[in-house]
């Protein structure tokens, strides 16, 4: 039930936003992430953005894993 999916915020108007879910657009509420900007990736659950996905953190996690497990 705690399934939450990633989507890209393509429009923001006050506390409402439109996310692109791989080609399907959906309206969500941004009440919990007022600092979000258009173009950010967000994690979505029951019509609410729960948090912004940090691209920097995602890249860093992968970079560390590659360094440990698959050094070039």
């Amino acid at each position: 039930m705690c399934l939450a999916i990633p989507g890209k915020l393509i429009k923001k108007e006050n506390d409402k936003g439109i996310v692109d879910l791989g080609g399907v657009n959906k309206e969500i509420l941004l009440t919990f992430i007022p600092e979000v900007k258009e173009g950010d990736w967000v994690i979505i659950h029951t019509g609410f953005g729960l948090n912004i996905i940090s691209e920097e953190e995602a890249n860093e996690t992968i970079a560390i894993l590659k360094e440990v497990y698959a050094p070039e």
């Binding site: 919990f32 659950h45 609410f48």
Partner: protein, 352 residues
């Protein structure tokens, strides 16, 4: 963003190969239905050596919702029940909501709790307040919004559950024997990874907050193994791309503006102190327990279902005598078989 990096086959292969060398038997518990599903879906168990076993804890909000909640809903007159879809097939003592709907009860499935507010413009609505910390902020916000709109025909039946107190209770009762936790990614988005510090501090057991891709889960397992090797239990955060140590403070603020901590009844586990949330007095006009005089009680009937033992990690689903024989997804006896995220349903689908 390249989220499919977390399915990188080269990295997965390396980690799986390293894990193969692990000799000491260990048991890790995941406490999120979406992890249960992801572990089955990606075939993670088959990638692990026999020494590492994965068991499912009480990670499915639908599975731990007491029969009493479902029975109370069925007894309501002249209202429309708005609920997340997962709940409608769960049998209470009076059968599931789905069956009551066939007999005329007005039950509507919703995706977002905010849809219930729209519906309340025309009908008397009772929203079923199930969920863990992931789902709770949205429902709390919906109550705030109902108050702002001064709605008179909207209420919520609170059956919210909190994850850290449940883990505390499981470990305190000493009837769960695990060596580490795969901690729920999306619950943690809200409460933060620091919320589990009691696990190493009070019980000497570590945990890793992980995401839901195969690499996430394998890295989580690898980190737990490393903690055991070093004898250094701690809370680590593998899912740092969405989870912070303190969680989403805006969401927490809205939760506690509307709701307050109280004891809660968990199906299969019984009453657990301070493991749920009720509606604050300031918002009691939206509290269905007050509006309709509902009291949640332990009324579970004995069916031979061992869902409680499954939720505590004491047995795996095939060890229940009903599993796969009388209890199947199309004829579920207990809640763990009903929800697609229940341990028994996931086992039936992926591991038989």
């Amino acid at each position: 963003m390249h989220l499919n990096n977390f399915q990188n086959p080269e990295l997965i292969k390396k980690i799986v190969t390293e894990l193969q060398d692990w000799k000491k038997p260990v048991k890790f518990m995941e406490v999120c239905g979406s992890h249960t599903m992801a572990i089955g879906h990606w075939g993670i168990r088959k990638l692990l050596p026999k020494t590492i076993s994965l068991i499912s804890g009480p990670g499915c909000p639908v599975c731990v919702t007491p029969s009493s909640v479902i029975d109370s809903l069925i007894d309501l007159k002249d209202v429309t029940i708005a609920t997340f879809g997962d709940l409608i097939r769960v049998p209470g003592n009076k059968g599931p909501l789905e069956q009551a709907r066939a007999k005329g009860l007005d039950v509507r499935m919703i995706y977002s709790p905010m849809e219930a507010l729209e519906m309340a413009k025309e009908k008397e609505i009772v929203l079923v307040g199930i969920g863990f910390e992931t789902t709770i902020p949205g429902i709390a916000y919906t109550i705030l919004e109902a108050s702002r709109q001064n709605l008179k025909n909207f209420s919520v039946l609170p059956a919210f559950k909190l994850v850290p107190p449940a883990l505390d209770a499981l470990l305190s009762a000493k009837d769960t024997n695990v060596n580490g936790f795969i901690l729920p990614g999306h619950v943690s988005v809200i409460i933060g990874s620091d919320a589990y510090n009691l696990l190493p501090e009070k019980f000497g057991i570590g945990g890793v907050v992980t995401g839901f891709e195969p690499l996430d889960i394998l890295v989580g397992i690898k980190k737990l193994i490393r903690q055991i090797e070093l004898q250094k239990p701690e809370i680590e955060n593998e899912y740092s791309r969405v989870v912070s140590p303190s969680g989403n403070l805006q969401a927490q603020e809205i939760i506690y503006k509307v709701l307050e901590v109280e004891d809660a009844l968990w199906r299969g586990l019984g009453w657990i102190p301070k493991s749920g949330l009720g509606i604050r007095k300031e918002f009691e006009e939206f509290d269905a327990t007050k509006k309709y005089g509902i009291e949640i009680m332990d009324t579970e009937e004995q069916t031979g279902c061992r869902c409680g033992d499954v939720l505590k990690g004491n047995i795996i689903p095939p060890e229940c005598q009903l599993f796969g024989k009388v209890c199947k997804p199309n004829n579920p006896i207990g809640p763990c078989m009903v929800s697609s995220e229940g341990s028994c349903a996931a086992y039936y689908k992926y591991e038989r």
